[in-house]
């Protein structure tokens, strides 16, 4: 029988402003947080230290002073491993790749238990200064960055085009932020938990027109750890676990912008990757019970929900306004609060998405529990969804 991978344990710190300024007398040290989370996740899984055979870390931000963070942490925790130990990087896709690579360790037989983990600290660096780095990550650093593009400016142009083609309004986009803030109000890991209204979203200062402050992700820090295991190990533990049922990846062969005019807001990579993941899982879009997207802005959640077939083209914005994507609705999306309210420490964001699905599919999401949740879908991406990495997860009792 083909090997299958299960999520058996999770841990995370609430997303927020944890990073200390360089001149603070008492500093927050990344490895102290990370080692605690490893122990918490291992306890949650019900396994032991000696069972861990591979650790796949997300690359820390350049602001993290300790370099070679992954092998340093193994030294801190006296963890010896026979599988693989590495840091992976894929810009926005970083944490999705760490999860995917940890799955591979099990699928390849290199490990029976593997951790996908990481920490992202950046909030003590100002947004304008952080953007000096992030502006070089999107588009051509000579031909685009020279014009002043920033990562979210591309999503803003998605929004302008979507509103033009489908008649969507800022109120429609704002409904996504309001819905996600409501979800975040029920999530102890979320950065912003005070409910907001559509009027409040629309009246925020512009960041990248037409998107305002509440349409875009906040700055924040986070750290998380997932314990993955072969299904055999998962079953032996006698507790609910979450099975990785399908996986799809697609890169559309363009970086940020396609010089052959295409339907930029069709998110072709998400269409293709989700089709592969659904096929592998033997499911179709309407079978999915809930979704956690890598969707940094309100518009992105709308476009991904359409690309994955969860909402009709041009209907994703209305779905939030009509409550279809809210808890209790037809297809709850971003029950964690999403990137705009749960928070977006970018290099570990997808780890939080898998944790939300794991909590939901293990029936322990508390006040945000989706009733009878069986199938969830998570997305990771880079660029303007030029590439997508998508997993379908299933609850196993």
């Amino acid at each position: 029988m083909t090997q299958r991978v299960a999520i058996i344990g999770t841990s995370a710190i609430p997303i927020g402003r944890h990073q200390t300024a360089d001149d603070a007398e008492i500093q927050t040290l990344e490895h102290e947080i990370m080692s605690r989370l490893v122990i918490d996740a291992v306890n949650d899984a019900g396994i032991e230290k000696k069972d861990i055979e591979s650790l796949i870390f997300t690359l820390p931000r350049p602001y993290t002073r300790q370099k070679y963070f992954h092998t340093f942490l193994l030294g801190q925790m006296r963890l010896s491993c026979r599988g693989s130990v590495m840091e992976v990087m894929g810009n926005g896709m970083t944490a999705a790749l760490a999860f995917d690579q940890a799955c591979n360790e099990i699928l390849l037989g290199r490990a029976n238990v593997a951790l996908a983990l990481g920490i992202n600290m950046e909030s003590a660096v100002s947004a304008a200064e952080h953007a000096m780095s992030s502006m070089r990550a999107t588009g051509d650093v000579d031909f685009h960055t020279s014009a002043g593009f920033t990562p979210i400016s591309w999503y803003a142009m998605d929004a302008t085009r979507y509103m033009h083609e489908h008649g969507a309004t800022r109120e429609h986009l704002a409904a996504v932020a309001v819905k996600n803030r409501y979800h975040a109000s029920l999530n102890p890991l979320a950065q912003y938990r005070k409910p907001i209204t559509i009027d409040e979203v629309i009246s925020q200062r512009p960041i990248v027109e037409p998107l305002g402050l509440f349409d875009v992700p906040p700055r924040g820090d986070g750290a998380a750890c997932l314990v993955l295991a072969s299904e055999e190990v998962a079953r032996s533990l006698g507790r609910p676990y979450v099975l990785v049922r399908g996986r799809g990846f697609f890169h559309d062969g363009s970086h940020q912008i396609n010089d052959v005019p295409n339907n930029m807001i069709g998110f072709e990579a998400a269409v293709q990757a989700s089709r592969t993941a659904y096929d592998q899982a033997g499911v179709v879009a309407k079978d999915i019970d809930l979704a956690e997207f890598y969707a940094p802005c309100t518009i992105v959640e709308i476009l991904v929900s359409e690309a994955l077939g969860l909402c009709p083209t041009g209907g994703g914005a209305r779905a939030a306004l009509d409550g279809e994507t809210r808890l209790g609705g037809r297809i709850p999306i971003s029950t964690s609060g999403g990137l705009t309210s749960r928070g977006h420490p970018a290099y570990v964001t997808s780890l939080y998405n898998y944790i939300e699905l794991a909590d939901q599919l293990r029936g322990r999401a508390g006040a945000r529990q989706v009733k009878d949740a069986r199938l969830g879908v998570a997305t990771g991406e880079l660029g303007n969804y030029n590439a997508a990495l998508i997993h379908v997860l299933e609850a196993m009792q």
Partner: protein
């Protein structure tokens, strides 16, 4: 001999905020742009243009490329106005950027120049211009007046 597309040149009394690097290959584009010359590479095998210019054809991977004129006109596919700018661009913000579909079927992204009395709107006709800064050029687009 290929005819050239020449763009209007707008003088800007400052330096570029984040100047592009030049290679021995791309300097042909930037030095041409200083004179208003609007061009990219075109494949001599499959005839396709690409932008930004590349020393090979990204479609068929042939190294046989030549400089060829780009359209000076196109339509605005989408746009945004950036208020939260990186440090290097802080004193220019807010500024508009957009995506242009040129008449010659090339899509590109660039800075937009506002024209008084004309609101930016997707699908509106646009024309390319050169912004001639004190230290070199950038390409940009602006709405076509009286379109």
């Amino acid at each position: 001999m290929t005819t050239f597309t020449t763009l209007p040149v707008i003088e800007i009394q400052r330096k570029r905020s984040y100047p592009p690097r030049h290679s021995s290959f791309t300097q042909g584009f930037w030095s041409g742009l200083t004179q208003g010359r609007w061009q990219t590479t075109s494949c001599q095998v499959c005839q396709k243009q690409t932008f930004p210019p590349k020393p090979f054809c990204p479609h068929c991977w042939s190294p046989r490329v030549e400089w060829a004129p780009l359209s000076a006109r196109g339509v605005l596919y989408s746009w945004t106005r950036i208020y939260a700018a990186p440090t290097a661009f802080a004193d220019e913000s807010p500024y508009a950027t957009g995506i242009i579909d040129l008449d010659s079927n090339i899509r590109l992204a660039c800075r937009l120049v506002d024209v008084p009395g004309i609101d930016l709107k997707p699908d509106m006709p646009m024309e390319m211009v050169v912004l001639q800064f004190e230290d070199g050029p950038l390409f940009a687009a602006r709405p076509v007046a009286n379109a």
